[in-house]
């Protein structure tokens, strides 16, 4: 995605269009802020009090009345929607001004507000019909936001993939609700919830349908293919919101459906956990060799959704096996990571958008040296990177710690060979952590550090305070959440009550009072930060002028080192992504290497399309498209042929009806 590099007042733009653009921006941002502000009041109240409230109108909507409500689970997911949407609106207001000469901002703000409203409606809908309508509003308005720069072919392609994926997913969700509604006789959530325990086969089928349907939204492998396309195509504040909030709606839907069906079967937890682990491994492996910054972030979102899925799977497994500690730890880890990932992924997309804004390109290999040119954005990106690589002392570590803890408890409560699975999962989780560290050292190192690799990076400029402010708030929240992890997880008590039952939440209380490792993690995080500050002062005190000198980087004896000698993003990950990853996940290397004594033309290309869409979906759908193309014989474009079809169909229908009539009388 290219942004016009100079967004200052261009002399050609006439005053009236500029004032219209600012009016549209003020209205659009204002609407979002008002909407979020109003909704924040009941959300916070219900999250703290643990009550629930609902509104029911006597308006019959397809097997159920119009009913909306907020319970702790809704409130839990509402909070990030509201907070992050407000920040994204403030950020986006300034971000989109760069486009004011080329685009009408009114329509994009209309869809932005519709998108936020759609997400809010998804979590407050209390009947399946309303839920599906809200789901579609959310998905479709996101489509229009993704295709903001629809004049570009790759953006249209991304939008198309997103649209197809989201609608395939919705079909499964629809089927799950139909199955539930048929048994309950109503599509209202309250009725479905109060229904006596569903038989295990139906419940299993509903769970599988929901996992596929909501997994397509959440980005579980192999349904993730839309994410790496849509996130880079969308404007950055929209990518942030999609990645930080919208994909979490998949998790919300899954948790909501699970609460309908009472205690789960153990295999649900195992399936979800395995799917989550696969998603995390594939996501982070593919993040290693992407060139587009926002694609790296998109794959990292897939990884993190995988981690949430894994934690949720552990929680379900513990619930099914009546191990309240495992259930509570797993669920808390999943929920905490929903919040944490929202914070850090929004932060990173904001920072990436700011880099895009400042340099005009998202290509990592054209960046470099931005820490000197846009220090605030760059520092925010580093905070986000440390958080998302789940390193202490930031919030990502706290949720990773909880996931590890739940797995360790899983292990201590299982015996024999079945204890092997959690242990090997921990080994793989350590591998995921190591890969994430590579991916994010690479991202920050290549984009922010070293010398600029292109003219665009050399001329980069820092963004305005409207864009930096939201980043600063998010970075501050990432630190705060890491310092007071127990306060944060304490807010989840009512959610756990609602999902797991009060027995489980008592065990959370026990976990909090008997030993308080979470508290200790927070304290150590704080002391780590204090130690950093102290050591920094020590170092600064020891290396003051006049004993301090500045000199160029040592070229290791090379007389004329150039910036092109720096390690590139590709070379940084070469060992791991081109030699150690499974062949399926490696980038595609091609070109013509220099040959012979007098080499002529030589080229080198490295492509990294998503392997699942490239090697599975595209051949599959391509083959079916070919087969269906044969049916075009029927489509002659001649009216009399169509009339013949109609006549044939009518005759066949009549024949069917009369045969059935005969059957009935016989």
């Amino acid at each position: 995605m290219d942004v016009p590099a100079n967004h200052g007042s261009s002399p050609g733009a006439d005053a009236s269009s500029a004032s219209r653009a600012s009016l549209q921006t003020v209205l659009g941002v204002g609407c979002t802020l008002v909407m979020c502000g109003v909704a924040l009041v009941p959300t916070v109240r219900i999250l703290c009090a643990g009550t629930s409230e609902s509104v029911r109108l006597t308006w019959d909507l397809f097997h159920g009345a119009f009913c909306i409500g907020i319970d702790p689970l809704s409130a839990f997911f509402l909070l990030p929607i509201l907070g992050l949407s407000a920040l994204a609106a403030i950020y986006g207001g300034n971000y989109l001004l760069a486009y004011r000469d080329k685009k009408s901002l009114g329509s994009t703000w209309f869809f932005f507000n519709l998108f936020v409203a759609g997400m809010i409606s998804v979590v407050i809908a209390r009947t399946a019909f309303l839920f599906l309508v809200a789901w579609e509003v959310m998905s479709l308005s996101a489509y229009f936001l993704v295709t903001f720069e629809h004049e570009k072919a790759e953006v249209r392609r991304a939008g198309w993939i997103y649209l197809v994926a989201t609608h395939l997913g919705v079909a499964f969700i629809f089927a799950a609700f139909v199955l539930l509604g048929r048994r309950a006789g109503s599509l209202e959530f309250d009725v479905i919830q109060d229904m006596p325990a569903t038989d295990s086969v139906t419940a299993g089928v509903v769970f599988v349908l929901a996992t596929i349907g909501f997994g397509a939204k959440a980005g579980f492998v192999p349904f993730h293919v839309w994410l790496p396309e849509a996130h880079p195509a969308a404007p950055s504040h929209v990518s942030a919101l999609m990645s930080g909030v919208m994909i979490k709606m998949g998790i919300y839907g899954l948790v909501r459906i699970v609460t309908f069906m009472g205690p789960p079967a153990p295999w649900w937890g195992l399936t979800l956990g395995a799917l989550g682990l696969l998603t995390a491994l594939v996501g982070i492996s593919l993040a290693l060799h992407q060139r587009d910054m926002k694609r790296v972030l998109a794959y990292s979102s897939i990884e993190n959704m995988g981690l949430i899925g894994l934690a949720l799977g552990i929680g379900l497994w513990g619930w099914a096996n009546r191990l309240p500690t495992v259930a509570v730890l797993g669920m808390t880890a999943a929920l905490l990571h929903v919040w944490n990932h929202g914070l850090m992924k929004c932060l990173m997309f904001f920072a990436a958008g700011s880099v895009l804004h400042g340099t005009g390109t998202a290509d990592m290999e054209k960046q470099g040296g931005l820490m000197k040119r846009m220090p605030w954005t760059a520092s925010a990106l580093i905070v986000g990177a440390v958080a998302i690589a789940s390193l202490p002392p930031l919030n990502g570590f706290v949720s990773k710690w909880l996931i590890y803890s739940s797995l360790l408890r899983c292990n201590s409560s299982s015996t024999g060979a079945s204890g092997l699975a959690p242990l090997l999962t921990i080994g793989l989780l350590a591998l995921i952590g190591g890969l994430a560290a590579i991916a994010f050292v690479r991202l920050t190192g290549v984009v922010l550090l070293g010398s600029p690799r292109s003219k665009a990076a050399e001329l980069a400029h820092e963004s305005s305070a409207w864009m930096l402010g939201p980043m600063a708030i998010l970075a501050g929240l990432c630190v705060t959440a890491a310092l007071i992890p127990r306060v944060v997880t304490g807010q989840m008590r009512h959610v756990l009550d609602q999902v797991l039952g009060t027995e489980a939440s008592r065990s959370l209380l026990r976990l909090e009072t008997s030993d308080t490792p979470l508290q200790i993690v927070g304290v150590i995080n704080a002391w780590t930060i204090v130690a950093f500050v102290a050591a920094t002062f020590l170092l600064i005190a020891r290396s003051r002028k006049p004993t301090r000198k500045d000199a160029p980087t040592w070229g290791c004896g090379y007389v004329k080192p150039t910036v092109r000698m720096q390690y590139t993003g590709r070379s940084f990950a070469e060992t791991i992504s081109e030699h150690l990853l499974p062949r399926f996940l490696r980038p595609r290397i091609g070109g013509q290497l220099p040959r012979g004594l007098f080499p002529a033309e030589s080229r080198f290309t490295a492509e990294c399309p998503d392997p699942v869409s490239d090697r599975v979906y595209e051949p599959f759908f391509g083959r079916w498209a070919e087969r269906f193309a044969r049916l075009r014989v029927l489509q002659q474009g001649k009216i009399h042929v169509y009339l013949v079809y109609i006549a044939v169909v009518v005759v066949l229908a009549l024949a069917w009806v009369s045969i059935r009539g005969l059957w009935g009388t016989a």
């Binding site: 470099g368 040296g369 820490m371 520092s379 990177a385 440390v386 789940s390 390193l391 202490p392 002392p393 570590f397 710690w401 803890s405 360790l408 060979a417 092997l420 921990i426 989780l429 350590a430 591998l431 952590g433 190591g434 560290a437 590579i438 920050t444 190192g445 550090l449 070293g450 010398s451 490792p517 200790i520 993690v521 150590i524 002391w527 780590t528 130690a531 950093f532 050591a535 920094t536 170092l539 020891r542 290396s543 004993t547 301090r548 000198k549 000199a551 160029p552 980087t553 040592w554 290791c556 080192p561 720096q566 390690y567 070379s571 990950a573 070469e574 060992t575 791991i576 030699h579 150690l580």
Partner: protein, 305 residues
């Protein structure tokens, strides 16, 4: 009162011994080569001198470059407080501290590698890439080894896992523990960039992983890095010693000397390995690390079979 004395001994040992290990390794190597070698306390003199020196900063660098030295040192310094040195608990000990331990070392690595990239030098970028790549393979091996101990002791604290109860497990699960010991020794060599992974003696093209990342550091910052690296060596050495010699006599006056003696033996063994082996070809390094992972995985399988 007892714990206060114990904790202060822990802190004093943990922060004073690490450079000595470097000295012992250097002396061992010198003896093998038939040289006299530098004095045992040379690393202390080096550190002292570095902290007196002025510093030169590259004009390409930013705060990340300085943070590399600080974070590497601080994270190793906190990690050392998490591991038990003799039979009794470490100063900081809580359920799940093993995860904090591993990720603190990861944090140090993140910033050391970022600092290397901050210089914009091709060599240091290369070192950073290798460091993070190899660490990513060493981490699962280390974690799986920890899990063996967690499974045996039923504890989720490093102090419980490496406590004196470990001695009884050598009798009934000696095969698993021996595999873990081997795997951790490989991890120790890899994490501290010793031969056969890397040759820490040279500062240029021959040293391709850790030392190459710190080419542009000088003065106090370089001192911090060296000290942090020594701390890391101490941390992994201590883990190996606890695993190999878990028995305690019961009296702190004897347990501490036993631990220190064990640590010095580990340093000598590293010196012997460095004197008798050549550096592996770079493409063989991942093979050895994967082997370490598999050793730990086998240890687990032996345990749960």
């Amino acid at each position: 009162m007892n714990t206060i004395i114990h904790d202060s001994v822990h802190v004093v040992l943990a922060f004073s011994l690490p450079p000595l290990l470097l000295g012992v390794i250097a002396k061992t190597k010198a003896l093998f080569a038939g040289r006299v070698g530098p004095p045992l306390l040379q690393p202390y003199y080096d550190l002292f001198k570095l902290f007196q020196k002025g510093s030169v900063y590259s004009t390409t660098t930013t705060w990340v470059f300085r943070a590399g030295a600080v974070v590497g040192f601080v994270s190793a310094g906190i990690a050392v407080l998490l591991i038990p040195l003799s039979g009794s608990a470490a100063p900081i000990s809580f359920t799940g501290d093993l995860i904090l331990f591993a990720y603190l070392l990861g944090l140090g690595r993140f910033f050391t590698a970022s600092a290397a990239l901050d210089t914009g030098s091709a060599f240091e970028g290369m070192g950073a890439a290798r460091e993070v790549t190899f660490a990513c393979l060493a981490e699962p091996a280390f974690f799986l080894g920890l899990l063996v101990l967690a499974k045996l002791s039923g504890s989720l604290q490093l102090s419980g896992m490496l406590g004196s109860s470990l001695a009884t497990h050598w009798a009934n699960a000696g095969d698993s523990l021996a595999l873990v010991l081997l795997s951790w020794f490989i991890v120790l060599l890899a994490e501290n960039s010793r031969i056969p992974f890397d040759d820490p003696n040279t500062h240029l093209e021959l040293t391709m992983i850790h030392e190459v990342m710190v080419l542009d550091h000088g003065g106090p910052a370089f001192g911090m890095i060296l000290y942090g690296a020594a701390l890391k060596l101490f941390v992994f050495g201590a883990l190996v010693v606890r695993l190999a010699v878990p028995m305690t006599v019961g009296s702190a006056w004897l347990d501490w000397p036993i631990f220190v003696a064990g640590l010095l033996v580990v340093a000598v063994v590293i010196g012997v390995v460095e004197s008798t082996m050549a550096r592996l070809r770079l493409t063989r390094v991942p093979v050895l690390l994967v082997a370490a992972c598999l050793l730990s995985a086998f240890a687990i399988i032996l345990l749960v079979r």
